[in-house]
């Protein structure tokens, strides 16, 4: 988006900002959201705490940045995968995009939790994350929509209306409510398994979540459209 950094000083600023964010992610991975502390990050970078205030207005601004970056990163990954598999059949697309989503989450679980986990206490995510989240999930929801046959019924219930309104707000071209519901179902099923996995629930059970995940994707693909 932005043009390349202009002056050397600007370039330097950007480097430092990025390093701070990288270190913040390390802290997040090691100590959870509470570990993202201005002083701790600065110490790791070999500078003093107050120096960081040259780069971020305050701790919340830094946190917001991390979240925005993570959504963008996930969004990039999902769009790249959509692009890579664009010629495949809808079912195959769902498999690929689902796998990509899970892979992204497992590569950096702490980041996944930052986006979809328990809200960081005392931190109110800004409105803009709604749009970002939508971008990250859209390719998969589109692939699910492609599974649908023609001739599905239009709006019938109040719930259907909510779905349609939501879809309109995000600027989607009209789709039957059942399709939208299936999209949310896909998201929720993936999230259920991934969050249990990322939180370590399967470790104690000594069960590999991967086949479970694949089965959930198949269940989305195979589920009849009544």
């Amino acid at each position: 988006m932005d043009a390349a950094p202009r002056s050397p000083r600007e370039r330097f600023r950007e480097q430092t900002r990025n390093e701070a964010k990288r270190v913040a992610l390390d802290q997040l991975a090691e100590s959870g959201p509470a570990g993202i502390s201005v002083n701790a990050i600065a110490k790791r970078m070999g500078i003093t705490g107050p120096a960081l205030y040259r780069y971020f207005e305050n701790r919340d601004a830094l946190l917001t940045d991390l979240i925005v970056d993570a959504f963008n990163d996930l969004g990039d990954a999902m769009e790249a995968a959509a692009q890579a598999h664009r010629r495949k059949a809808p079912a195959a697309k769902v498999r690929e995009l689902g796998a990509r989503f899970r892979a992204w989450a497992l590569e950096q679980p702490h980041r996944y939790l930052l986006l979809f986990g328990t809200p960081v206490p005392g931190f109110r995510a800004p409105e803009l994350t709604i749009g970002l989240a939508d971008r990250a999930l859209r390719p998969l929801l589109d692939a699910v929509a492609d599974l649908a046959p023609d001739g599905l019924p239009a709006e019938r219930t109040a719930f259907d209306r909510q779905l349609t309104a939501w879809h309109e707000r995000r600027g989607g071209s009209p789709l039957p409510p059942v399709v939208l519901q299936r999209g949310l179902q896909a998201w929720s099923r993936m999230h259920g398994l991934i969050s249990l996995e990322v939180e370590g629930q399967f470790v104690g059970m000594r069960v590999d979540p991967e086949p479970l995940f694949r089965a959930e994707l198949e269940s989305i693909i195979d589920q009849p459209w009544q």
Copy 2:
């Protein structure tokens, strides 16, 4: 389990302990896990921080207590529901138990997150919670198992073996792996929707998660056994 409190002093101790835990849950609801602080709880109770050390060895012991209580409470609720609906058909049982699970989670979302949410940073849940979690989920998994027809195939893959081993460890009588998988699927689908709901993801979308949840229960009931 335990006999009634013996002396007046013991009774008093138990009262204070319970009040501390009640206040801790209030703090949890208001400020997240980080809000569960010895000093803050004591202040709310109108005593000083150190006084609480008469009742809990340290902060972690208090947290552990909260988790154990919550698992037991959920376990009680699920077993009571299983008892109440014991004469119904399997599908109806799954509906009732699923609804009970969600209701419990929504009644006290912070407690649900304490059990199934992002692990509290720096806090290692003791082994015993595994057994407690199992008790809480068992009635529902049993109901799902009751849905299964006879003659399902036995162990075939390495994954099947993991499922069987897990089920054996929890002391269950033999069941086909597909059935065990279906049970985990039910758990994961419920958790996916509930955790998204509890974290407020549906608020911004203005979509009511309740029909989605009911649809997920139906999907568990209707899913073919291949």
